[in-house]
Subunit: 114 residues, 2 copies
């Protein structure tokens, strides 16, 4: 279970480690787009765009829906939330550690000299 979750997180950050895939996310946060529109925005082929979209779908960063012959893409906030949650956990642990260190220093300075 833990292993599977680690692999999911690996794939999530891997999906974000590509400028074109991040450009797709940046575009879709402003509104839905078709695959052709995204391909034009990226300046790459439709085939390359479809490959990026597959990676983004598997990691819950993008959702797509086909109506007739047109596939429309929109942001899936689940992936972004998962990535933010992992980073926020690290920050919280770190900040708690700083708080504890601060409390120790505070206690030491208040300690009367003997």
């Amino acid at each position: 279970m833990l292993k599977r979750s680690a692999e999911t997180t690996d794939r999530l950050f891997h999906a974000l480690a590509d400028a074109n895939r991040r450009a797709v996310i940046e575009s879709l946060t402003r509104g839905p787009a078709t695959v052709s529109e995204l391909a034009a925005q990226l300046g790459v082929t439709v085939a390359a765009t479809v490959q990026h979209l597959q990676v983004l779908q598997e990691t819950e960063l993008v959702r797509t829906e086909k109506v007739g012959r047109v596939r429309t893409c929109q942001i899936d906030t689940a992936g972004l939330r998962n990535a933010e949650a992992w980073l926020a956990r690290q920050r919280t642990t770190w900040e708690h550690r700083l708080d504890r260190l601060g409390a120790v220093l505070d206690h030491q300075t208040k300690e009367p000299e003997s």
Copy 2:
């Protein structure tokens, strides 16, 4: 400049896309550790740990300092902040879009029938 920044962000998310490197970050948020301690925690060789640390240093996720023969590692919050900032920007853009859509719907329901 934009290209360089995109490559930096590529490398940052790539650094996070590895369970062992994330384990190093999770460990260091709780306190500094030596390379040997991290290697023991990960259950990998010191050489493999050093390679992970190089990737983490280049992306400002970890700082290391050598005193005598011992290299001590600590968290570098710059990398975590950069990753969180990118994700937060996407969420903000998305939330603004939802607010605008909400305002449009609100306006439509308030519009008197003609």
